[in-house]
Symmetry: C2
């Protein structure tokens, strides 16, 4: 079994670069941490290149990768690679997936326009997964899905459904072309979400935490909707609003 | 106008203690930061004792407190008191409110059983405010509402509706006593939330991030409900689930 003790090891230096988007794209790899996420990755179509663990970490018997996939690392190396305060002693290096293609344009799609906060993005992917959404499309300016905070907040849901990057304008046209209704979210010139009926196929666009969905996108949707505010709050958290809408549209 | 330049000033040392629950309770004060929150506090029934600001911070003309309520502090003092990375240069010391009493037991109530994460609690108070909920009851073991992370995530909503501490068991009995239905949330021995109808008066209990609502509470509710998972996610974020339920019950 391979073993790495020194934080000065070249491979450790390379892996540390996976903390940045640039580093991930250059290496074609991303890093995940903790038992739950490594297990989700092993169960998914994602290719797990290496499982890293400390001497004292227990490997569940169900993780049936062959022996060469494991590397023992020292506590110092694990700490160097970890972005959490109390590492679980387990991590994995995974191959960045090719952008998955949707086999068929049918079902429910969530489109994100410039969502900035990694916790929000992760929670929204988790919520989309829970609501049985078919796929998530991340428009330009949205935080990278392989950011460690996104992965953590998604609780592994990013391994459960296709999450792709794409041009939002093009995707709106594509959905409209096959007759799938596209709903934007906006506070002005929009209807309460209860004005539309739950439906089997749709694309829902939610936007940036401060600015919402860009006006040029809102201009070409089929309909724009909002979640009414009954109290004195100025707005809802974008992740909460997304949950309310996805579950309402599900019916 | 009063002015404090040194981080060693006795008052600064006292105010720093407001970062802990113990310190807040001993002083009967809490600390808030940033323009939005200070403005919300000034507009609310909360008593603002002091507004602290740096030399370069601009005080909006609409904040019509008398001159003696303001203290100019140095950047160092503001940094010492701030818990954010880039302080806005504005903060306030507020008087901890007496627990508000609900004038009448009528309306919609959210009861939280041991919610641990400050971000979750703040988001849930914001969502309850948005959904027009009448009041929020924090059971023992729930994070302190005057924790700075809770205040920030609530975006000022904690100043908009009564948020009180209380004994959850007692409150369940009280609601049942006046005929208000009490709904627990649970994954087992529960119905999908769509099995109940939206209603004008109810109390909804949501629980700890990992463990959910305690079994002894679930045993005495009128009905227990859950938000179905249609995909492969194991669960929803508790704040998102709360939003889905509050908006559904609103109808």
């Amino acid at each position: 079994m391979k073993r790495i003790d020194s934080v000065k090891n070249e491979q450790v230096k390379h892996w540390k670069k996976l903390h940045t988007r640039k580093g991930r794209e250059k290496a074609g790899r991303f890093l995940i941490e903790g038992y739950h996420l490594v297990e989700e990755a092993l169960k998914s179509v994602i290719e797990v290149e290496w499982v890293l663990h400390t001497e004292t970490a227990t490997i569940p018997a169900s993780w049936k990768a062959s022996e060469r996939d494991y590397i023992i690392v020292s506590d110092q190396v694990m700490k160097e690679l970890s972005e959490t305060e109390t590492p679980q002693g387990i991590a994995a290096i995974c191959v960045l997936p090719q952008e998955p293609l949707f086999t068929e344009l049918k079902g429910q799609f969530l489109i994100l326009d410039r969502v900035q906060d990694p916790g929000n993005l992760g929670t929204m992917i988790r919520t989309a997964d829970a609501a049985g959404v078919t796929g998530v499309i991340l428009g330009e300016g949205t935080v990278d899905v392989f950011n460690s905070k996104v992965i953590r907040a998604s609780q592994g849901s990013m391994f459960h459904l296709p999450v792709i990057r794409g041009d939002v304008l093009e995707w709106i046209e594509r959905f409209k072309g096959v007759g799938i209704p596209v709903f934007g979210t906006a506070l002005q010139d929009a209807s309460s979400y209860t004005a539309i009926e739950p439906q089997p196929d749709y694309a829902l666009i939610v936007g940036n935490e401060g600015e919402g969905v860009a006006p040029d996108l809102l201009a070409i949707t089929d309909q724009n909707i909002y979640v009414p505010i009954y109290g004195k709050a100025e707005s809802l958290n974008v992740g909460v609003a997304t949950g309310i809408l996805l579950y309402y549209l599900r019916g």
